[in-house]
Amino acid sequence: MSRGPAVALLVATVTANHCNKPVNAGDALRGLSGAEQDRFRRGRVVFDSVFTPERGLGPLFNATACGECHEDPAAGGSGDEVEVHATAFHTGAACDPLAGEGGPVIQLKVTPALKAALGIDSEPFPRDATGRGMRTSLAIFGRGLLDAVPDALILSYADSADRNHDGIRGRPNRFVDGRIGRFGRKAFVPTLDEFNAGAFVAEMGVTDPPQPTEETIGGAPIPPGVDPVADPEINQEQLDLTNDFVRFLAPPSPAPLTNEGRQGRELFSRIGCAGCHIPTLRTGDSPTPALARKTFFAYTDLLLHDMGADRADICLGLATPSDFRTEPLIGLRFAKRFLHDGAATTLEQAIKLHGGEATGARDQFNGLSGARQAALIAFLKSL
């Protein structure tokens, strides 16, 4: 079946739901209960809390608060921080995330105590790494909705053997325990709660109940006295509040479309962008009614696609260095840099840097007239 008519109908339905009053960046989902709104507000406080070494920061870290990297134009938005990931990829072998050498997230900052003890300014880059990935700080609006999408829906879009011969071979990634992943640039992490729990530790060096263990310093133990706060350094309630804040962050309403933007939306589907950036997804059951059985603009299939050798960096799970998850385009108009590594500063550049399975769509974009390219960009800038 052609996706076009179904997509048009869903777009109309979702648009109708947003007609009354636009949802701004940083707003909570519509339809939350009073108790859920309260947790959203209290969670934002934890999200914006600045950690210090006395409160558990480090000894290795990338940021002192969630809100340091997710801040623009509101809490949960994007940031200008770029971090480093490293893994080892050898053809025919399982991807090595270099967990024993401090990977895959390499912290770029250290606490004064660690610097005094070891004389280092950042975590040593793993000697066995075969790849280095640069990762920009994304806006995380609408992630609760992405979390509530059933695995079965993601798998329904998979086509690893390209049975429909469209050149697109979406496939799921899997976490270390075999579950289907969806979060992170490599779709490695299965759930939002796990992504957040891991981020406290990997990004701030703040241990939590699900991951109460500090990482080593490039595989070596943390020197005595450097990290005196007992693990876990935040409790489950602080983590749960943060999870609820992130879960309840609404996707901002797309801006009203001009005639040009409407033409661009049609081109987006016609030239093949929507083959991976699937416009709408639908959530399944959820204990939160505001997240249950909702159709929302996502512009992703949450699957891995080969983006070509030019963009390749690290492996992770089943993802090879050139495999990346289709980036959700929620809140795209707030982004300052594009692609996983921030290599593009304009949407035109970002499209032109697509390769691999996106080569066909990219080439069709390149073949459009200037006016039509501008229309497609106008549509993207409405998201």
């Binding site: 967990a99 024993g100 270390v176 325990d177 992170g184 991951q211 990482e215 080593t216 070596a220």
Partner: protein, 107 residues
Amino acid sequence: MKRGPVVLLAVLIPLALRAARPQQTAPYTYHGTIQAVQLKAGSLDLITGVGMALRLVHVQTTSGTHIANGSAPLALGDLKPGTVIRAECHPSDHGPVADRIEKVAVP
């Protein structure tokens, strides 16, 4: 070849793995992907973790460790890097010791 670097590595690598080990003090079940199997030592390195905070756990087996794929018994040598397992372990002074290792079917 000089023995010095080899001896140094032989001392440092187990120390590093031990340092990376989550410090569980009660029976614990690890879910993860096998990174390496040391047949002579009867042990394996397992990648576990939460989100992007991954850890390498060194798991020791004994002659009493039950290894299986469903109802079919397996030997340690049947486990390969990349295999997903669930390892029921008890703590020891030298790290977790597996009582049961179950191969997890991944489609």
